[in-house]
Symmetry: C2
Subunit: 340 residues, 2 copies
C-alpha cells in the first residue's frame, strides 16, 4: 500500500454494530485529496481539493454512496459519540451496504467556490471529481455507485462519463433531468434567498427557502396525518400546526448550511441533463409514488431509455421524496439485492 | 320593484353575445350595498359595505358565482370594451350559466380592513355578507351557488349557515377544509410577503409569493410540456424557461393586487373549516385529478360526508387547480346539468 494510505487510521468498529462474523478492524480515511479535472462551466483543467470518507474493509470492493444536496461525506458515523450519519440505518457492518464486504466512499459536494473561477457547478463536475479520486486512491473499478436525490443525478453523470470505472448503478429518487415543476419550485427558493441577500435578511430568507424545500421533500399524505390540527392565535396572527414544523426545519437548516452553497447546489440540480442512452451500466432504479419532486414517471422514462439493463423498484411510502431517508426497512432488501 | 333597484341600469347586451332568442335587455347592477352581520373573529355585529355585480334577466332566478381569492365580482364584462371577466367563457347569454334564464350575483371578497376591527376574515364572513346581500336585494332564495377554489369554500360555508336560502350547491376545486400540504405552501407564501414587508422589498416579495402560488395552481404535466427547454446564461446566472414564466406572472400580479389583501385572503383559506354533515343542500362537486392544491381525495371525503345528495364529477386536465379556469369546454355541460 502506497501514499494514498498515509492518512489511514484503523478504528475498532463501535460495539453496537459488531456482528459475530465482523472483522476486527475497518480501514478509515476521512481526509482531503487534491485531484485534477476540467469543470463544465469554464476555466480549463485545474486542481481541486475533495473532502472524502473512505471506510470499510481495506481490500474490499469500493461502493460510492452519495445523498442529497444537504448531505455530506458522513454517510455513517465512524467514531462512537458523533451525530449519526445521514444513512446510518443502511450502511454499516451487517447492514444493507455491508462494511464487512465492501468499503464505502463518499465526498462532500463541491461548490463553484471549490472549483475556482466557474459560473456554476455541474453534476458532471461532481462525477469527475469522484472519478479522479477513485484513480488517486488506486481503487480502479467501483463495485457500485449508490446515489439518492442529487446523488442519483451525479451517479448517472458518473456512469455516462466513466462507464469503464463502474460495475453497477443504484439510483434512488433521482433521474436524468430535473422535472420543470421541481425546477419552478427551486427557482422560487433561490429567488427567496437572493431577496434575502439583497435586503440583508439572509437567515430568514434561507430559512423560508428551506421551508419551501421541505414541502417538496415530504409527502402530502404524511402532512395530512401529522398537521390536521386547528390553528392557534399567537402573537399577532393565527399559526397553523404545519407552520411551526416548517419554521423549526428552517431554523435548523440555517444553523448548518449557508446561502451560497444552497444557491449553487440547488442550481446544479436544475442544470443536470444526462442522456440515459449513453449509460451502459446495469442499473437498479428506486422510485416513490408519493415523491412530488421526482415523479415516478421520470424514473419510468429513465428506465426505458437507459442503454444497459435496468430494473425499477417502486416503494410505497407516505414520505414522498424523503422516502430514501425514511423507508430504510423497505430499502434494505432492495439494496442487498442490487449489490449482490 | 322597490328601493333595491334604485341603482339598476339597463344595458343592451353586447352583440357578440346576442343569440336569436336572447331578450333585448338585461338588468345590470354594479354597485355597493351596506349590510349587517357579525364577523367570526371579533367585534360584534356591524355594517359592512359589499361591492357586487348582479346581472341578467331582471326576474330570473339568481345564481351566485364566486372564484378564487384573486377573482373579483366581474365574472363577466358587461360593457363592450373592458377586459374580459374571469369566467367570461362560462357565463353569458346562451352560455353554460345562461343569462337568458338566470341572473348572476357576485361580490368582491371582503378583507379584515372592510370588516373593521377583526383579527382575520373567514369564509363564514363572506357567506354572511352574501346572505345579507341576498336579503337586501329582495332575492329571497338563491337558485344555486357556483363556487370555485376559495369561492367553493365560501359556497360550503353559505350552505352550512343559510341552507334555507339555497337550492343547489356547485363546488369546483374546493373542499370543507384546506389540505395541510396546501396550508404549508401558503404559509411559506405569507412568510415571503412578511419578509418583504419587514425589509422594504414588498413588490419583489409579493411577486415571489405569487410565483410560488402559480406552481400550486398549475399542473405538473403542463409545466413538463411547456418548460422542458434548456436554460440560458443571462446577466450573472442561468435562467430556466419556467423561471421567466413565473417572474412574468409575479410582476403581473403585483400590478393588480396588494400585499395586505393577499395575506388576509390566503390566511382565510387556511382558516376555513366547515363540517360537511351540516349541509343538506343537493350538491354537484367538480374535481381535477391533477389539482395539487385541492387533492381529489378531499372532494371524495366531502362527497361522502355531505348530508344532502352529492355527485362528484372528475375532470381530467393537465392544468391542475386552474382547471376551473381553463377547462371551460368540459365544464360547460357539467354546469348546464347541475343548474337544470
Amino acid at each position: 500500500m502506497s501514499a494514498q494510505f498515509a492518512q489511514l487510521s484503523t478504528v475498532t468498529s463501535p460495539r453496537a454494530h459488531a456482528a459475530p462474523s465482523a472483522p476486527a478492524s475497518l480501514a478509515n480515511q476521512r481526509s482531503v485529496r487534491r485531484v485534477e479535472f476540467e469543470p463544465k462551466y469554464g476555466g480549463g483543467r485545474r486542481g481541486v481539493e475533495v473532502s472524502y470518507l473512505w471506510h470499510g474493509v481495506p481490500d474490499a470492493p469500493t461502493v460510492i454512496v452519495q445523498g442529497g444536496i444537504s448531505a455530506d461525506r458522513d454517510v455513517l458515523t465512524v467514531g462512537g459519540d458523533e451525530r449519526p450519519g445521514w444513512w446510518q440505518a443502511l450502511v454499516g457492518e451487517g447492514m444493507a451496504i455491508d462494511l464487512r464486504s465492501c468499503r464505502v466512499l463518499s465526498i462532500d459536494w463541491l461548490t463553484p467556490h471549490d472549483l475556482g473561477d466557474v459560473a456554476a457547478v455541474s453534476t458532471e463536475d461532481q462525477a469527475n471529481a469522484l472519478s479522479a479520486l477513485v484513480d488517486a486512491l488506486g481503487i480502479g473499478r467501483v463495485a457500485a455507485f449508490v446515489g439518492s436525490s442529487y446523488g442519483a443525478m451525479v451517479a448517472l453523470a458518473f456512469a455516462a462519463l466513466h462507464p469503464g470505472q463502474l460495475d453497477k448503478l443504484v439510483v434512488l429518487a433521482g433521474a436524468h433531468r430535473a422535472h420543470p415543476m421541481s425546477t419552478a419550485l427551486r427557482s422560487v427558493q433561490r429567488g427567496i434567498v437572493r431577496l434575502g441577500c439583497d435586503s440583508g435578511r439572509l437567515d430568514e430568507a434561507l430559512g423560508l427557502a428551506r421551508q419551501l424545500a421541505m414541502t417538496t421533500y415530504r409527502g402530502s399524505e404524511e402532512f395530512s396525518r401529522r398537521f390536521a390540527g386547528a390553528p392557534e392565535f399567537r402573537g399577532d396572527r393565527f399559526r397553523f400546526p404545519v407552520e411551526d414544523y416548517l419554521e423549526q426545519s428552517g431554523r435548523r437548516f440555517v444553523e448548518r448550511f449557508d446561502a451560497e452553497r444552497f444557491l449553487a447546489l440547488s442550481e446544479s440540480i436544475d442544470l443536470h441533463d444526462v442522456a440515459p442512452e449513453r449509460i451502459p451500466t446495469p442499473a437498479t432504479l428506486v422510485g416513490f409514488p408519493s415523491d412530488r419532486l421526482v415523479p415516478l414517471a421520470d424514473l419510468c422514462e429513465l428506465q426505458r431509455r437507459l442503454r444497459g439493463p435496468a430494473t425499477l423498484e417502486v416503494v410505497e411510502s407516505p414520505y414522498g421524496h424523503d422516502g430514501f431517508l425514511k423507508e430504510t426497512e423497505q430499502l434494505a432488501p432492495l439494496l442487498r439485492e442490487a449489490l449482490r
